[in-house]
């Protein structure tokens, strides 16, 4: 592929800069109580966004498909307090089985 090394170099340099920016620029900044609470909310916000996009969209379209079965299976295991691996395997199996039942293979 032409230009692949430009892609690799640019993506890599920008990725390193993004991860380093906070620690390098903010240095010894001590967050206030409210700032700490804000930072604590970063994880749930990003994780929720990633989950809903990965489950309900394909590209730039909304798509509700066999992934819903995987979501349901994952939620059941979480309610039952299963381990992370059980949750992942259940979600994958439920999705694969549903796709097979829907004749998507």
């Amino acid at each position: 592929m032409t230009g692949e090394w430009i892609l690799v170099a640019a993506l890599g340099v920008i990725a390193i800069a993004i991860r380093a920016a906070g620690p390098l620029l903010l240095g010894d900044w001590k967050p206030s109580h409210r700032a700490q609470r804000t930072l604590r909310m970063v994880a749930p916000a990003i994780l929720t966004a990633l989950v809903v996009l990965q489950l309900f969209t394909t590209g730039q379209d909304y798509r509700f498909d066999a992934r819903l079965a995987g979501l349901a299976a994952a939620v059941v295991t979480l309610v039952l307090r299963a381990s992370l691996m059980v949750t992942v395997v259940s979600a994958v199996l439920a999705t694969v089985l549903t796709r097979a039942l829907l004749g998507q293979y």
């Binding site: 592929m1 230009g3 692949e4 090394w5 430009i6 892609l7 690799v8 993506l11 890599g12 920008i14 990725a15 390193i16 993004i18 991860r19 380093a20 920016a21 906070g22 620690p23 390098l24 967050p31 409210r34 700490q36 609470r37 804000t38 930072l39 909310m41 970063v42 994880a43 749930p44 916000a45 990003i46 994780l47 929720t48 966004a49 990633l50 989950v51 809903v52 996009l53 990965q54 309900f56 969209t57 590209g59 730039q60 992934r67 995987g70 994952a74 939620v75 979480l78 381990s83 992370l84 691996m85 949750t87 992942v88 259940s90 979600a91 994958v92 199996l93 999705t95 694969v96 796709r99």
Partner: protein, 230 residues
Amino acid sequence: MKDVDHTSDPSPLSPPASVRAELPAIASVVTATFLFGVTFGAVAGAAGISTPAALVMSLTTFGGAAQMGAASVIAAGGGVGSAILTGSLLNLRYLPMAIAAMGAYGGSRWRRGAYAQLLGDETWALSRRPDGSYDRRLLLLSGSAAYVLWFAGTALGALSVGFAGDVSRWGLDMVSPAIFLALLWKQLGEPRTRVVAAVAAVLALALVPVAPPGVPVAVASCACLIGFVK
């Protein structure tokens, strides 16, 4: 198994114990990272990205969503410029994530910037303590393990192009959301966190049809500002 309450236990837990307790979770996360790496390697190969380029990308960018996003743009016939933009937007979330975690690293700002290179979604979420601070050992240990297995997975995937086929065929597209959901689940106890999650979900879904890939997640991360409201 019965839950044991350790909160009143006065004996100081040594840091390695906290890591040992999380070993099963680390194993799950790095296994998933490996499978995701295989998927990326296969997708990149199918998109016409050479194996050396895919491997160097995994070593330098070290971001599953970003690399997959960039490879998808190339696979769909997009240009290098839009692949760089897509991948970098998908990496933007590491900016607030690194700021949230940097207090745990210790050392000079250069050292902290270097440690932050090991940040990944799953390992970062795994290393978060219930009080919102981050476990340094977990960040570095699970981050390093994920780094090595992400590279190994990429290599296997790139070399097996043609065998793997479509990601969704094996249900591998469910690995990542299942892990994220499990990590998120533990954080939803606080009412304010549930509001943040709901706002983030609405923002992300509302922007999907109109914004380029990566932007919905970056904008949704602003839902954390609800934490700043009194």
